[in-house]
């Protein structure tokens, strides 16, 4: 369903007839279609996809807003979304038209200069839907369409200019626990998505649909069948509910024709229920973008028992190590290690190094050649046996995207340290759509003698060393955006602040208190020569759950009101 503001609809109609030349109508009419060329080399002023570029950096070269003037940022305009729960989508901008999504799968198209709503799409969700993660992480733009994946495991294609539904396709059946929260990836005439639901006994996959027709082009399981390579890493009868969800948008290397995706943990959660490495859980997989064929993978940790989804796709960064130039994949893991891997020309993935970026009590060693860890088995939960481990099941870094700034040569990690989980496993019977974690007695704890949890870290990608860190007593669930103005923008904490850090040294140069907590992905764009910073606030989902657990430990109550608002900031003219 689409809902257009009547007056603006009239303007659009008149504009189509060449009868008006107002700023709003001009923006819509003048907006260019999104091509492969534009996605590979976006104009500085546009933010055309989840992380702006296929390499997943979350970086914009815009620098009108910079370290010298960021403290003069003011609110340009705001928009209430009318929805509660976790607002996590980036404001994506094409030639002055902004697209956001919200929990419950609304899409807004907005004039990015003044907040005028051009159209709104409302997804009618099924009455019997079960929402484990009521959120959505944004749209993909391609051609003349806008694409959104939904909580009921559909993919919808909308007319980018009118919001009219062009087609919708079921990716899977939501009644068996499948759902989708990610922004799709668009490239080479295909719209690609992965599926969530590992905690409900799904078998994960990534699929590509034709951008024009919605017909399936390829589908690649992230859990192999017994007769496929890797299938022998699962005990008989377990792979069909083996999890390996795909939560977050993949990245793409056009030079190698390979798309990279992070995968989630296995199902049930406790490794003893499925002895073996359980490929390709908690991994990065490299797929041929034309066929979906598996070209390579790296499993960060085998036989996961900690709910350490490695869902964030590694960033594609060329680094120098020991005098070598390496086309790398860099991934701050949920398992608390910072992984540097190599993108090989044939699509396979090599191991370079890994080191902890938060306290981690599980890995006892990392094989220097393969990157395979060995475990402290006391910290590995088993069936009927509790294990206490750090980082917690929420990880050293969760889904929240890290960023990379090519000017500073640093990555920026929204981390959580000193926060741990105690968990035990129990037998679980598969029931379609129901909880399939097979865990009991989950309890959170904070390491004794520590005084912070949330952190913003900066690491030099060439030296592999940490450069700076800002520590907070609150947990950090803030996606990162970094700019040519030597700035890092992020929120993420229950204090509701949206902050700008100096990318070089971590100093907080500006902060603004918003209506609600911020787990949205910040973006920046430029229209008519003016740079804007955009972010959605709206607390909920896992961030609120973790805050409740911390409150329980501390005997406190932290109140973070919900309610989505799109905030746009700019310097005054």
């Amino acid at each position: 369903m689409k809902y257009r503001i009547k007056a603006e609809g009239l303007l659009l109609a008149l504009a189509a007839l060449g009868m008006v030349t107002g700023a709003l109508a001009q923006n819509v009419a003048d907006m260019r279609d999104v091509t492969d060329e534009r996605l590979q080399n976006p104009e500085d002023g546009n933010w055309l996809m989840f992380r702006r570029t296929y390499d997943g950096w979350g970086y914009s070269p815009l620098d009108d807003i910079n370290t010298r003037n960021v403290d003069e940022l003011k609110v340009a305009w705001t928009l209430s979304t009318g929805v509660t729960e976790g607002h996590q989508s980036p404001p994506i901008v094409n030639d002055g038209i902004m697209y956001i999504t919200t929990p419950l799968n609304l899409v807004y198209a907005i004039d990015a200069t003044n907040g005028n709503v051009i159209w709104q799409y409302r997804r009618t969700l099924p009455f019997d839907l079960s929402l484990m993660h009521p959120t959505n992480r944004g749209v993909a733009l391609y051609g003349d369409k806008v694409y959104m994946a939904t909580s009921d495991a559909m993919l919808v294609a909308l007319d980018a200019r009118t919001g009219a539904l062009v087609w919708e396709k079921a990716i899977e059946d939501y009644r068996t626990g499948y759902y989708i929260t990610m922004a799709p990836l668009a490239a080479k005439g295909k719209i690609m998505v992965g599926v969530s639901g590992g905690e409900r006994g799904i078998r994960g996959f990534i699929t590509a649909l034709d951008s024009e027709t919605g017909e399936q082009v390829w589908k690649t399981w992230t859990v192999p069948a017994p007769d496929e390579p890797g299938g022998d890493s699962w005990p008989p009868g377990t792979y069909e509910h083996g999890g390996a969800s795909v939560w977050v948008t993949g990245n793409y290397d056009p030079e190698r024709n390979v798309t990279y995706w992070g995968t989630g943990n296995g199902g049930p959660w406790i490794g003893e229920a499925r002895p073996g490495d359980n490929l390709y859980t908690s991994s990065v997989v490299a797929l041929d973008i034309d066929t979906g064929a598996l070209k390579g993978y790296h499993q960060y940790h085998w036989n996961d028992s900690w709910d350490w989804d490695e869902v964030s796709t590694p960033m594609l960064i060329d680094v120098q190590r020991n005098g070598r130039d390496i086309p790398a994949l860099i991934h701050p893991g949920r398992n608390g290690y910072l992984w540097t891997l190599e993108r090989k020309d044939d699509g396979s993935i090599g191991f370079i190094d890994a080191k902890p970026f938060v306290y981690q009590n599980v890995f006892t060693s990392i094989d220097p050649v393969t990157g395979r860890p060995t475990y402290n088995m006391d910290a590995k939960p088993g069936l009927g046996r509790a294990g206490t481990y750090c980082p917690s099941l929420s990880g050293g870094k969760n889904w929240t995207p890290a960023g990379y700034n090519p000017d500073t040569q640093m990555i920026y990690i929204p981390a959580n340290d000193n926060y741990c989980t105690t968990l035990a496993g129990e037998e679980v019977e598969y029931r379609p759509g129901q909880n399939y974690t097979g865990t009991t007695g989950s309890r959170a704890s904070i390491r004794e003698g520590t005084d912070y949890i949330g952190e913003m870290q900066a690491w030099n990608v060439n030296t592999g060393e940490k450069v700076w860190s800002q520590k907070f007593d609150l947990a950090n669930w803030g996606p990162v955006m970094t700019t040519g103005g030597n700035l890092v923008f992020s929120g993420g904490m229950a204090d509701r602040y949206f902050r700008a850090y100096d990318a070089r040294n971590g100093r907080i140069l500006w902060q603004e208190r918003l209506n609600s907590g911020i787990t949205g992905v910040p973006t920046t764009y430029e229209v008519n020569g003016k740079q804007y910073i955009a972010i959605q606030s709206g607390w909920g989902v896992d961030a609120s759950r973790m805050q409740r657990a911390i409150d329980t430990i501390k005997g406190e109550e932290t109140i973070v009101p919900q309610g989505g608002v799109l905030w746009v900031f700019a310097l005054e003219d």
């Binding site: 369903m1 729960e85 019997d128 484990m132 059946d173 129901q434």
Partner: protein
């Protein structure tokens, strides 16, 4: 959702499932359970039948369950045809047996032999309430840790759920657990503010 909207969505979904079948993709089990009668809500005189496990489809006897043990899932069963109304997860019922002396007045009026029944769908975001807190005898939702007190109308005693689970009044018929009346209270979730439609 209008009837027209739902019809369109279901049609598209069937088309997609048909397409997947042609590709050799396994069909989800529950998608095949489309008997409209199996979607009907529990009503007076229906029996309650076990939803899962070795006894799936068998009626629950009034003395089957032990006091304060983890809840079982059940569906209503038509007493004449034996049809189990498992066509939608909205029909899932949580059944637990408690010490009658601990039940509130409203709850004991809906109970039989200490057995109490509630909707299995959380009022927060619609998850199945599968967990049991044995320390306090509470239902717990695995999604966002909402807790409900089954001895007192399943009122919310923890977590983000906005209201209690819908209650299903029970009675005994021939030694079996039967439904005494339709669900009391709101089924499913439609949290104010979580609805984008202003309702």
């Amino acid at each position: 959702m209008s009837r027209q909207d739902k019809s369109r969505t279901d049609t598209n979904r069937r088309k997609m499932l048909g397409c997947m079948c042609a590709l050799g993709v396994g069909l989800p089990v529950i998608a095949e359970a489309q008997d409209p009668a199996a979607m009907e809500a529990p009503k007076e005189n229906d029996f309650l039948a076990y939803a899962y496990g070795d006894k799936a489809g068998q009626p629950v006897a009034v003395d089957d369950l032990a006091v304060a043990e983890k809840q079982v899932f059940a569906f209503a069963m038509d007493p004449a045809s034996g049809l189990v109304k498992n066509g939608t997860r909205m029909n899932q019922v949580l059944l637990v047996r408690l010490d009658p002396a601990t039940l509130s007045a409203d709850t004991i009026a809906r109970s039989v032999n200490g057995l109490v029944a509630y909707s299995g769908v959380c009022s927060h975001t619609g998850c199945d309430v599968t967990d049991w807190n044995s320390e306090f005898n509470r239902f717990q939702c695995p999604c966002h840790e909402s807790q409900f007190d089954p001895s007192d109308s399943a009122r919310v005693v923890g977590g983000p759920a906005p209201w209690q689970l819908a209650a299903l009044p029970l009675k005994e018929v021939d030694g079996k657990v039967a439904v005494a009346a339709a669900f009391e209270g709101r089924l499913g979730f439609m949290q104010p503010g979580l609805s984008p439609f202003g309702i």
